[in-house]
């Protein structure tokens, strides 16, 4: 946790290449606390150091300006995004920070940074393989054998999504109650790999993000194909948790907290994929309409 906080602080500072300044919680408060061993103090968030956020169109796409400084990625590259809508959404994220900059709420900025910097250094094939690998352990393909009510719930809720995906892509997916999961035919994998290959790098980063959030490629395809809303996909992804909540009760600071975070991340990823993969055919139609 501590290491992550420190890293986040560094990332925030590098965003604008500002000199190191000001005391942070770890430096300022650490040694002076009366009971330093147990008390965990949340890391100090960076102050909002800018007044106005604006967008400008540069050579590589749309850029974000904080006052008169250009926003940069953690690796120091110029922050440029391909779509105007995405730039506006990112600018809105920066503009809606109140007193401090809460990076953990700025999912679209984070996704753009990931796409621009590509910190894991993966190419298109590796991204696609990482996403398709989730099919082996896809949430909606893993079924329980008891209790009977949960078995029925999973069958009623997940089966329609799987059969939709099977029909939409003309493949066989299936489900399994075995610990090793369903055996996915090689052809299914090929079809899905070639489908994902039609997306660009930015959209693929978003798809992989959503897949790892929902732990399901099938649900992610439902989102990219406008078949499921984010709320539905998140509900399906958390089906067993929802079942246990029904049975044992809801805890706000754990269940609701996770639900909202998962929804926010999934929505950000989905929006990112859609905004980064808008085809020219669709745009053409918009102009006519």
């Amino acid at each position: 946790m501590w290491r992550r906080c420190l890293r986040l602080r560094d990332v925030g500072r590098r965003l604008l290449n500002l000199p190191r300044s000001g005391l942070t919680a770890s430096e300022g408060l650490g040694p002076k606390l009366p009971t330093p061993i147990r008390a965990y103090v949340p890391p100090a968030e960076r102050k909002r150091f800018y007044q106005n956020v604006s967008i400008s169109q540069g050579e590589g796409g749309f850029e974000i300006n904080l006052d008169h400084r250009k926003l940069r990625t953690p690796q120091g590259k110029l922050f440029t995004v391909p779509s105007e809508a995405l730039a506006i959404a990112v600018a809105t994220e920066w503009d809606s920070q109140q007193d401090t900059i809460k990076m953990y709420t700025m999912h679209l900025t984070t996704l753009c940074n990931t796409s621009l910097d590509n910190p894991t250094q993966r190419d298109k094939d590796q991204l696609i393989r990482a996403a398709v690998k989730f099919l082996d352990t896809d949430t909606v393909c893993y079924r329980v054998e008891e209790p009977e009510t949960l078995v029925e719930l999973q069958r009623n809720e997940w089966d329609p999504v799987i059969s939709w995906a099977e029909k939409r892509y003309g493949v066989e997916i299936g489900s399994s109650t075995s610990i090793t999961g369903p055996s996915i035919p090689a052809r299914t994998r090929e079809v899905l790999v070639s489908h994902l290959a039609s997306y660009n790098m930015w959209a693929l980063q978003g798809i992989e993000f959503v897949v790892t959030q929902l732990k399901s490629l099938v649900l992610t395809l439902g989102l990219t194909d406008l078949r499921l809303t984010v709320e539905q996909a998140v509900l399906l992804s958390r089906l067993e948790e929802e079942y246990q909540i029904q049975k044992w009760g809801n805890i706000e600071w754990a269940h609701d907290y996770e639900l909202q975070e998962l929804r926010a991340r999934t929505a950000a990823g989905t929006l990112f994929v859609h905004l980064c993969s808008e085809s020219t055919a669709v745009k053409h139609k918009l102009l006519q309409g």
Partner: protein, 113 residues
Amino acid sequence: MAALGSPLRTWRGLLRELRYLNAATGRPYRDTAAYRYLVKAFRAHRVTSEKLCRAQHELHFQAATYLCLLRSIREHVALHQEFHGKGERSVEESAGLVGLKLPQQPGGKGWEP
């Protein structure tokens, strides 16, 4: 096709979230780039005679997704500040979270300073 409900409902939801976002800065939300963009996009896709227009559905899907993003972030931040943002809780506070109180020892426990 995902069931999205009425576009008007999504639009109202978005306006509400924009108002929340701009409440802190004190500026009217109608001045923001996001508002202008949304107005333009919604106007360009108003229903004509077409019952099911792919582009229109796609825009509505994106709007609903954006609404979900803004709303979830707002609620997540509220929960974060309420429960997770202040650091570690004392034993009394932790007990209070689940509706319990620490037992009282009459005359103290004997080892207080």
